[in-house]
């Protein structure tokens, strides 16, 4: 593709220009459509809610304020849910990556008798499962409903992630393992001292997958948790949105009836607080994203080429 660029620089045919034009247009369009809504979320969260409601904002916040964030950070439920999200994400990443790595390593060892059967047992679950009701009943009889463990235990192993990891482990030269074995290292030591340090890209990728999955999951808490204090931010946000929907509808109805004008007090609105909450829930992902980005692209590409 480098050669192509050189020839581009030398002479551009009409066809080249058309292709470049269309490609750049699609790229620009994708960029704007992706970035602008997120940017809009950002400027709304920093805007005065009533002002933003009175006059639509497009590019800059109106009467910039931190009130929306103050409202989020003083809300006990939101702060608690944020901490729950952090706790479940951190726990899930550590436990799931460790468990997946152990299993993937064992399955790539040629010495393991029954490797094929074990792989088949695992792969089968990718295509067929019991569904939500038997799963719910299982959690019920395990007594993990409405506990923190319902976030962690079922996610310990994902077969898909395991396959990605196995593809990566297979590329590590066997001679490294063999020489360690000759030195008398046991399997656990080989895994933690040799295999894992060489596998940072895939560990980061799978850590990211698990982390993002845990951070964004609203479903588990919506169906398997009753206790408000155990609910993560995504589930609380979902409830907030439907509540805000209802509130907005009520306000619009009031406004239609002619009595709504005096109802809105200056400063924050349910919409502006909602945007601030959304931003707070995106920020951790945004912070981690640039650092793991290079890994996950590499990791997933290795997996994609192998799979």
């Amino acid at each position: 593709m480098k050669a192509k660029k050189v020839s581009n620089a030398i002479r551009l045919t009409t066809e080249d220009k058309v292709v470049n034009g269309v490609a750049i247009f699609i790229g620009l369009f994708t960029f704007l459509v992706t970035v602008y809504p997120i940017y809009y979320c950002l400027i709304y969260a920093f805007s005065d809610g009533t002002m933003a409601m009175a006059k639509q904002i497009y590019l800059f916040p109106t009467s910039p304020t931190l009130d929306n964030f103050r409202a989020v950070l003083t809300d006990k439920l939101l702060v608690n849910s944020f901490l729950i999200s952090v706790a479940r994400t951190a726990t899930a990443v550590v436990t799931s990556v460790a468990f997946t790595a152990l299993t993937a390593y064992a399955l790539t060892r040629k010495e393991l008798v029954g490797r094929r059967i074990y792989s088949m047992i695992a792969m089968f679950t990718m295509y067929f499962g019991g569904g939500v009701i038997p799963t719910y009943l299982l959690y019920r009889s395990l007594h993990i409903l409405n506990t923190f463990s319902v976030y962690i235990l079922p996610g310990l192993l994902s077969v898909y992630n395991m396959l990605l990891m196995m593809a990566f482990f297979r590329d590590i030269p066997e001679s490294l393992v063999e020489s360690a074995q000759l030195d008398g290292a046991n399997e656990l030591k080989i895994l933690t001292r040799i295999i894992l340090p060489l596998s940072t890209p895939i560990l980061a990728t799978i850590g990211l997958f698990v982390g993002v999955g845990a951070w964004n999951d609203w479903y588990t808490a919506a169906y398997f948790i009753n206790d408000q204090d155990l609910m993560p931010m995504s589930t609380i946000l979902m409830k907030l949105v439907s509540a805000a929907d209802a509130a907005r509808k009520a306000r619009e109805m009031l406004a239609d009836a002619g009595g709504g004008a005096g109802m809105v007090k200056k400063g924050t609105t349910s919409v502006s607080i909602q945007y601030a909450t959304m931003l707070v829930s995106i920020i951790p992902v945004m912070c981690v994203y640039p650092f793991v980005q290079k890994y996950f692209v590499k990791g997933i590409m290795v997996g994609a080429i192998k799979a």
Partner: protein, 320 residues
């Protein structure tokens, strides 16, 4: 454990040691089997017990008993839901949303990957790529809330259209059932296109450059290069991804349905998963809901197998 290779060979012909040799081999297996054991237990508990739990679809299950000692009722629940109009409306919505996903959402990542591959400015290309992944990492809850507000009655789009005088009254995006499916599909597209393009970027970057060079020497233009090199080279990837998506024909996305849908659009947003949860966990008809879920998973397995069979037959690409 390389010692195994060294140690076993000389003793191989000695029958007297066969039992102790077996013992040694068994002992060597212990660490490996121990490493796989936790995963095996995990899969049995969290994957196979729920599969075994499917038997309650053929029983009248009640919470006071266990999976296996309930009265057997045969296909009663299957017959019941197949006669239920609500189920069929959920079924129809699920299929329609999946078809939209397969024919509108599916090609987008391919187009994006092909387009970005043609962009001459590397920096710009990388920036677009990096940004386009990002929505994948946003919670569906956030994405849904964002688009619900932007397309809301007093949201960005309606306000803008009113300001430029294009419309008088706001367009009701999310309360009009007729618009739900296409809007939900667009939101899905927004969230997933960049991320799903990664696999095609990978496939394209794996293409041998000599092919392009040879084509250029033969006088092929950029269009011909896309048409006769890039596309055919990533065709296998496209087919595999398509096969995988066929299995999802009867599965819906609960996030779309529950987070973007509302009371107004329920006739269009109600999908099988939603139905299962509502009758199962909502009204506690566990056996009935399990029957619905089982029907759904069996169909998707059959679809995956069929799709795989046909692609093996005609294209020599398959999953297994």
């Amino acid at each position: 454990m390389a010692a195994e290779k060294v140690g076993v060979a000389p003793r191989g012909g000695d029958p007297q040691h066969s039992s102790s040799r077996r013992w040694i081999r068994f002992k060597r297996q212990i660490p490996y089997q121990l490493m796989i054991l936790p995963a095996l237990i995990f899969l049995i508990i969290f994957a196979y017990i729920p599969i075994a739990g499917l038997v309650i679809a053929f029983q009248d299950y009640s919470l006071s008993t266990s999976y296996f000692n309930n009265p057997w009722v045969g296909m009663k629940h299957f017959q019941a839901f197949l006669k239920d109009a609500t189920f069929w409306s959920a079924f129809r919505n699920t299929i329609q949303l999946s078809l939209l996903r397969m024919f509108l959402v599916f090609p987008m990542p391919i187009i994006l990957a092909l387009a970005l591959n043609e962009i001459p400015a590397l920096k710009f290309k990388k920036t677009v790529q990096t940004c386009s992944y990002f929505p994948h990492f946003m919670a569906y809850v956030v994405v849904a809330a964002l688009w619900k507000d932007i397309l809301g009655n007093t949201g960005l789009v309606n306000n803008f259209l009113r300001q430029i005088g294009a419309i008088q009254d706001p367009i009701s995006f999310w309360t009009d059932p007729a618009k739900f499916k296409i809007l939900a599909t667009l939101v899905d597209m927004w969230k997933g296109t960049g991320w799903n393009a990664i696999i095609y970027f990978a496939a394209i970057s794996g293409i041998n450059n000599e092919l392009y060079e040879a084509a250029r020497i033969d006088g092929a233009g950029r269009f011909s290069q896309i048409r006769y090199i890039t596309l055919p080279e990533i065709m296998n990837t496209i087919i595999i991804m398509f096969i995988l998506s066929i299995g999802g024909l009867v599965s819906g996305n609960l996030s779309i349905s529950q987070l973007l849908g509302n009371a107004f659009t329920k006739p269009e947003s109600y999908i099988i998963e939603y139905y299962t949860l509502e009758v199962g966990l909502g009204t506690m008809r566990y056996s009935y809901a399990t029957a619905v879920g089982m029907f759904q998973s069996v169909i998707s397995v059959i679809l995956v197998l069929l799709a795989n069979f046909f692609s093996n037959k005609y294209q020599d690409v398959g999953l297994f």
